[in-house]
Subunit: 300 residues, 2 copies
């Protein structure tokens, strides 16, 4: 990979909203052994990623060695310098940034935000530190270079997102790529918007007898609210939504099982064979038995 | 790749700021041949990505076939339905979204924003259309699945960025992955912030005689402004910055060329050998000749 392509994005700055924090990228720079660097300090935190070779970094009075595919983190306002020697090959990418807490989006599971903020806390718990990239950071940097190299229109639009992910991967690396707990994953499933919640509920229960009233009661809506949300979101009525689920599922059963039409009608929640046949025809343009003849895998 | 993992992000919604537009992702869903889908419409535009197999999609009165690794775009308020048959294997990812024009970040090159907005216009120029993904979309979807599968803490923080890039790659695919013009690339180089611009100017001109006044004049700052920006940004003075460049470059010359100390001093912009030796010692803790003995590649 030609990492020198990264010189083209030097000075890029942008605000990238993550889930719980905003990442303000102040500057991106690429350095190799032909460059000159000097002691300086600034208010921004900085990440230095060693793409190849290794480098010594003066941080205050200390000297820290950062090896290939290692990442150095440094907090703000520390006097620092990349110690570049013309005869020691090195390539590195630096990103200076600030973080601010973001307004939280109500659609985002609080657990995801907490996770992110804990990772941020881990990173910032020391003034500086070095960790190893297990491959996720370098992959993003490769993607950036590939994009720049190909010169496709729109490639710079990806840069912000790539830098956001590069930052998250750095957080993960400093957090030792810790795995999430199973119970956290379970809690997230509820974070979907109202229409999707309603749709999911009907999708899971359409084989039973469902009425507008019973679904509204179950999900704590008035029947009016329920109808309004479904109409607004899917532009169909509650009744149509329910029938579409039933007809849809009947096609699975007709296709994959040897069940009779009566059994299929009952299993799908239709009140009678007659109503099943009527709605199936309306929706699919053919009768259930014609459908079974064409698509059935278990026809005797 | 186990694309069923995408079921875990069903209902995810978030606002992703791109360069010139904000992408409001309303919902993400995964469907395969075991799912039920129904005719509906909503105000959101929608992208359907076929991960494997192929699918027919009812759009109004038309039926459109979308093959593996093809992407269907549909504008808002169109009645549509994925025609799912239990015996025709298919896997697809749908993303419904809205776009709004974003407040523009002054640090972003206008050319990048224009590019993005032109791609958006291309996408939206027809009510619906199909194009082929050359591999960039599927790569992002694979990354998402891999992340979900590994269950690393912080993985959901990447989702927004991934979806932003998935959208850009979709725009690029509909724009036939057009290449950018060389002259556009050249114009962007100026879009760096003030301190970086100053630093760059000094970095390119330190071998000449430079004074605070001459740099300020050249870049249209007052000497006071120039000092303030350098101090604020790098926490060093103009003079120190200049000397660090000169010392830094002298190390390159001492290391890689057979030039005498006098020639090196002159080439780097030092007014005399004496001042070169003084500043070199201060910065590096050794004399230039000692440095040349240790690191010089061309010592006779």
């Amino acid at each position: 990979m030609d990492y020198q392509l990264l010189r083209r994005i030097k000075g890029f700055s942008a605000r990238v909203s993550l889930l719980g924090v905003d990442l303000h990228v102040n500057n991106i720079s690429y350095y190799n052994q032909t460059d000159v660097h000097f002691f300086h300090s600034h208010e921004f935190s900085e990440i230095i990623y060693v793409l190849s070779g290794e480098i010594k970094v003066g941080i205050g009075t200390e000297i820290v060695t950062v090896r290939e595919h290692e990442i150095l983190y440094m907090g703000g306002n520390i006097r620092h310098k990349l110690k570049i020697y013309p005869d020691i090959p090195v390539e590195c990418l630096t990103m200076s940034f600030e973080l601010t807490y973001a307004l939280q989006d109500s659609q985002i599971a609080p657990q995801w935000i907490r996770e992110e903020q804990e990772l941020v806390k881990t990173l910032m718990s020391s003034r500086h530190g070095v960790t190893e990239d297990k491959g996720s950071c370098i992959r993003i940097i490769d993607d950036i270079c590939e994009g720049i190299g190909e010169g496709t229109v729109g490639e710079y639009s990806k840069l912000k997102n790539h830098l956001g992910n590069l930052f998250i991967c750095t957080l993960q690396a400093f957090g030792n790529n810790r795995k999430r707990l199973e119970e956290d994953a379970a809690r997230e499933v509820d974070f979907v918007n109202k229409a999707i919640q309603i749709n999911d509920y009907i999708g899971k229960n359409f084989t039973r007898e469902l009425t507008l009233q019973s679904v509204a009661d179950e999900l704590n809506y008035s029947t009016r609210q329920l109808q309004r949300i479904i109409k607004l979101y899917y532009n169909i009525s509650f009744r149509e939504l329910l029938i579409q689920y039933r007809v849809g599922y009947s096609k699975v059963l007709l296709g994959l099982t040897p069940h009779s039409l009566e059994v299929v009608a009952g299993t799908c929640g239709f009140s009678s064979l007659k109503s099943f046949e009527k709605y199936f025809k309306l929706s699919e343009g053919m009768t259930p038995s014609a459908f079974k003849k064409i698509y059935g895998k278990c026809n005797s």
